[in-house]
């Protein structure tokens, strides 16, 4: 395609927290500095900055990209800010990738930040504006509705029970016990999930990831630069992103076709023909437990409706045949919207370098995938990493 090879050479992140003392720009600085320090680079080595963060209404700050720019090291550099809902983290990395792959820049710092705790009484209020102002908002919807509606459709089409889905929350929150940044790590049981408060059936308290403050960053470099910086570059092998119709009530919510489109684009670029065999570790987007299952199917890593069985059989456990969310995911580590996608990419980066510590999956994985999802339940972003 005439694209240059691009490597991830550094990664950093803050703790994910219910409420941080730091401001958004302070969090952005902490994650960015850590990512640069991790590969012994300075801001002078950075040619461009790609930033991802939620809409301005979330923070009550107009032009939040500009507000965060100093913390993100963007001052006096080519800088762009993107937002595609929950898909933002992986999408920002894709933007950083084409900054470098295109030949325009040799390096790019990718930074994603979210401080959800500022929005009162609850950040759900800011999410309400995603519903159509004329045909939906007069019904006084809340954000959990759309997840509950999608989850129920997925469960009903495949004849699933809540316990089939609750296992994901149990696995991810347990995995997060080994993540030093985790906000909601816990050793819980399927019964705990099934007995937790019903918010919007079938969604219960423990099916949901928390609201969080936090930031994450990564450093991307062109091949000739990457080889000077590190002897363990992790290559971006493929990227993909795709949208479905925003008329969400006109889609069959049981299957995320847009995730499949994004995955096919990324697999084609990476030369992956049999994803189930060739992807060794996976970080799909898991803001709700059913979403991990939904996304594994959309990513063509199992048949439609098969993901719950893989989970029950332990295939997706950290020591299973196809580890899924070894980080602990959004359910366990936390969900500062944009930053959570970069957290997932960082996890794959650490896993492929064999640096994930207690979270390290066995078998020296060589290829991994991170995926995020968002907008009005209709955007999929995929990045395949490999060594």
């Amino acid at each position: 395609m005439g694209m240059r090879k691009v490597a991830v050479v550094g990664a950093g992140m803050t703790k994910f927290m219910r409420r941080a003392q730091e401001t958004g720009r302070e969090l952005a600085y902490q994650a960015s500095k850590m990512a640069l320090d991790s590969c012994e680079m300075t801001l002078e080595d950075i040619d461009s900055v790609a930033l991802g963060t939620a809409p301005d209404a979330f923070d009550g700050l107009h032009m939040k990209g500009e507000y965060l720019s100093d913390g993100a090291g963007a001052w006096n550099k080519p800088y762009m800010r993107c937002y595609v809902g929950g898909g933002t983290g992986v999408f920002a990395a894709i933007q950083g990738w084409y900054h470098v792959a295109s030949g325009l820049f040799d390096t790019c710092l990718v930074v994603c930040e979210e401080k959800m705790s500022s929005c009162k009484p609850h950040p759900q209020g800011a999410f309400l504006t995603i519903f159509d102002h004329t045909t939906e908002r007069p019904l006084k919807p809340n954000l959990v509705w759309i997840f509950a509606l999608e989850m129920n459709r997925y469960m009903t089409v495949h004849g699933l029970e809540k316990k089939d889905i609750a296992r994901v929350a149990v696995k991810n929150k347990r995995n997060a016990l080994d993540h030093p940044c985790a906000q909601l790590a816990a050793d819980i049981t399927v019964e705990d999930v099934l007995n937790s408060e019903v918010l919007a059936w079938p969604v219960q308290r423990l099916d949901i990831s928390p609201t969080s403050d936090g930031a994450a960053a990564m450093v991307l470099a062109a091949e000739h630069v990457a080889k000077r910086i590190t002897d363990k570059p992790v290559w971006i092998k493929g990227v993909g992103w795709s949208l479905d119709t925003a008329y969400w009530t006109n889609r069959d919510l049981y299957y995320p076709k847009y995730v499949e489109s994004a995955a096919r684009m990324a697999y084609d670029m990476a030369g992956i023909r049999e994803p189930r065999k060739e992807i060794h570790v996976v970080e799909p987007y898991d803001p709700f437990d059913y979403k991990e299952l939904h996304h594994l199917e959309g990513l063509l890593l199992c048949e439609k409706g098969e993901a719950p069985r893989l989970t029950a059989d332990g295939v997706t456990a950290r020591d299973g045949d196809m580890p899924v969310c070894p980080s602990g995911g959004l359910l366990g580590v936390g969900n500062p919207i944009a930053a959570s996608g970069v957290m997932k990419l960082n996890e794959i980066f650490w896993q492929l370098r064999g640096e994930a510590g207690k979270r390290q999956v066995p078998g020296q994985p060589r290829t991994g995938l991170a995926q995020s999802w968002g907008d009005l339940m209709q955007v999929g972003c995929v990045v395949v990493l490999g060594v």
């Binding site: 969090l27 009550g60 009484p121 004329t134 919807p141 129920n152 919007a200 059936w201 207690k358």
Partner: protein, 167 residues
């Protein structure tokens, strides 16, 4: 380098920190108002709701009939202008039984939001609410019908349909 990192940055605040007044916080309550124009397609849709009818629109190319109506078919990117009256009955495509409000506060009586595939449309529907039904009795695939406000109370809004009830 996660394994090599001693500590990650970030300072979590606890409820005790907040209760003790250790955090300085500035509050601002915005007052913003918007007036949204309905546009070409939705204006007709709302007018018909005022008349007690649901109208959809058909794409001449893919022959899909969709609701809510729109001026362009997003699959074919063809202009749409074949208006089609639909039934005020449909099928529950999916639903939820919801106990929380928009601000995450709790409601005693649940609401039942649902996507209802409208009869006469091509597996297409819209978001509305179900009532006159025990939440335990609701099923995906259930047939339902619109319950309209009396004509004199209709204003040309999605809420001219009060809710849907089992048929």
């Amino acid at each position: 380098m996660s394994a090599n990192i001693e500590s990650f940055p970030g300072t979590p605040l606890s409820q005790a920190d907040l209760d003790a007044g250790k955090v300085l916080t500035t509050y601002w309550k915005p007052k913003l108002e918007y007036g949204w124009d309905a546009g070409v397609a939705i204006s007709r849709y709302l007018e018909e709701l005022k008349n007690g009818r649901i109208i959809g629109i058909k794409c001449r190319r893919c022959r899909r009939v969709v609701v809510p109506p729109r001026v362009v078919c997003e699959w074919c990117w063809e202009p749409m202008n074949d208006w089609v009256y639909l039934q005020d009955t449909g099928t529950v495509n999916t639903y939820s039984v919801c106990y929380i409000r928009w601000d995450a506060s709790r409601a005693k009586e649940p609401q039942i939001p649902a996507v209802i595939d409208i009869d006469g449309a091509s597996n297409a529907g819209f978001l509305h609410l179900l009532e006159e039904v025990d939440p335990k009795e609701v099923k995906i695939g259930m047939k339902v019908q619109a319950v309209w406000k009396p004509p004199e109370e209709r204003v040309g809004a999605i809420t001219d349909i009060k809710y849907f009830k089992p048929l």
